[in-house]
């Protein structure tokens, strides 16, 4: 019973890897040669768009977000585990920073303008945005 369960679950996770962002236990190694870069800005209550490369309220993006190739988003990077995975992480990072910077009272939300190159396809641009911060303004 244990064996059958593990085998079925493992096969299910392999199948799930074809549509999920993070592909846990799907073992899709080096799935893409895709690359990406993003201009990440803080949009303030007065409408300014401030790049996160500039420190704010004692925070630095490269200290807050160090993992999964997100530390320097403006530099074009390889999407190690695929574009969907990478952009899901970038979205989660925007959300996390928006929620975990309590000293920042001016930012309404964070926004990333992403240019992504899926393998050899032409680039596509999409915009990711964190939820509106409650403490802003």
């Amino acid at each position: 019973m244990v064996v059958v369960t593990v085998v079925v679950v493992q096969l299910g996770l392999v199948a799930r890897g074809y549509w999920s962002d993070h592909k846990e236990f799907a073992f899709q190694m080096f799935p893409e040669s895709s690359t990406w870069r993003a201009e990440v800005v803080r949009v303030t209550a007065d409408g300014r768009r401030v790049p996160v490369e500039q420190a704010w309220s004692g925070y630095r993006w490269d200290e807050l977000v160090q993992d999964r190739g997100l530390r320097y988003p403006s530099v074009r990077h390889h999407a190690d585990a695929g574009l969907d995975n990478q952009l899901a992480f970038l979205q989660a990072a925007l959300d996390w920073v928006a929620e975990n910077t309590p000293r920042d009272s001016e930012t309404r939300y964070l926004e990333a303008t992403v240019t992504a190159w899926h393998n050899a396809d032409p680039p596509r641009v999409e915009v990711l945005r964190s939820p509106e911060r409650e403490a802003s303004g």
Binding site: Q28, S33, D67, H78, F89, A120
Partner: protein, 384 residues
């Protein structure tokens, strides 16, 4: 249908040697330490995952206070050492598995394929009685004059680990096979072209660099990579292709290690290959003439490197040559016996397996020079 299920149930429950899992347990400890190294380094600098971006899998998943989390990571390192040494083996292995798994599921950012594989390996080692050999626990029992524990256990953890091992190669190969960009060569070509500067730093002639960055090269190379992964996944299951699959898998992992950063995957991937050894022990006999210094040295070498316990080393009649009695009772003598013996030792197998393809060795293993001997032993799980 029910007869098939009964046979399967019988196969999975049949006691088999846990020697390969014991060896894998020993090898898994360093993989865990390598995995933990950057996390432990961060804790020394006062950092944990909680100090930066992370994304819990589920809101209900328990997060520990930072000091407790740090203590857990260090406990995992201690447990990994104990696991490798085989001290309180079951507890140490279960502890290592529990902490490594807990840590990975703390955040989506902690997930990597190599860590997933490590967790699967640790989980299956934790449920297998793999501490009865190659362990301090066994040594302590001997010192206390207690009888050794049965080194066999139900085969299902071993079979599951084999399944997971094959699944890793199969899933990876299948995902590439079904992706036109991968199978057509676009992915590897672009990766190599972007890494051209790194490639040029290697001691490679210009024509090789040019060739490797040619689009047409990757049209064929990508298919070769995909088919290699699928061959490993399937080839491991059949006796006739198993050694080739293992040999290619080692090359495959070394090539990946040389070309990409995959954390513990290469080491772990090669280590797990030991589970494909037939789960029975001491069912081949190496006969050496104790009066012959070279044979004596070879016998000692085999004794030291026979981590999977393939051989019984026995004295031969004075003046006789080196003899190896294989599982099927075939006796092989001289250089072919040396080649066959070395091909069954984990450390030398990769280097000597190709020698088994030499006509002289093939003839010796099945030709008139080989002799049936009375020590034939049937393998409990098939294969050699």
């Amino acid at each position: 249908m029910s007869a098939t299920l009964t046979r399967l149930d019988d196969l999975l429950g049949r006691p088999v040697s846990m020697r390969a899992l014991a060896l894998l347990r020993v090898l898994a400890g360093p993989a865990v330490l390598l995995h933990l190294q950057p996390l432990l380094g961060d804790t020394l600098d006062g950092r944990t995952y909680q100090d930066g971006f992370y994304e819990p899998y589920a809101a209900w998943y328990p997060e520990l206070p930072e000091p407790v989390y740090v203590a857990l990571l260090w406990l995992a390192a201690v447990a990994a050492v104990a696991m490798s040494l085989g001290f309180l083996t079951r507890l140490a292995t279960a502890t290592t598995f529990a902490i490594v798994a807990y840590n990975m599921f703390l955040s989506t950012t902690h997930f990597h394929n190599n860590r997933a594989y490590l967790i699967l390996v640790l989980g299956l080692l934790a449920v297998a009685p793999c501490g009865r050999e190659l362990s301090l626990d066994a040594w302590i029992r001997r010192r206390r004059g207690l009888p050794a524990l049965d080194p066999t256990g139900p085969g299902w953890p071993l079979w599951l680990l084999r399944f997971e091992c094959a699944a890793v190669y199969g899933a990876s190969g299948l995902s590439k096979l079904t992706d036109p960009d991968w199978f057509g060569g676009t992915v590897t070509w672009q990766r190599v072209v972007r890494a051209r500067e790194d490639l040029e730093a290697w001691p490679l002639p210009d024509w090789a660099v040019s060739g490797l960055t040619e689009r047409s090269f990757h049209t064929g190379a990508a298919k070769f990579i995909v088919l290699t992964e699928l061959f490993i996944a399937l080839g491991l299951w059949w006796r006739g292709t198993r050694y080739a699959a293992v040999w290619i898998a080692v090359v495959f992992h070394l090539a990946i290690e040389a070309s990409a950063s995959v954390q513990v995957f290469s080491y772990l991937g090669i280590a797990v290959l030991v589970v494909w050894a037939v789960p029975s022990t001491r069912d081949r006999v190496l006969r050496i003439d104790p009066a012959d210094a070279r044979q004596r040295r070879f016998g000692a070498l085999v004794g030291r490197l026979d981590w999977l316990a393939r051989f019984r080393v026995e004295p031969a009649a004075p003046g006789s040559g080196l003899q190896l009695v294989d599982r099927d009772g075939t006796t092989i003598v001289g250089a072919p016996a040396v080649a066959l013996a070395l091909s069954r030792l984990p450390l030398t197998a990769w280097f000597t397996l190709p020698a088994l393809l030499l006509p002289g060795v093939r003839r010796a293993r099945r030709g008139p020079g080989s002799m049936p001997a009375p020590v034939a032993a049937k393998s409990p799980a098939g294969g050699r």
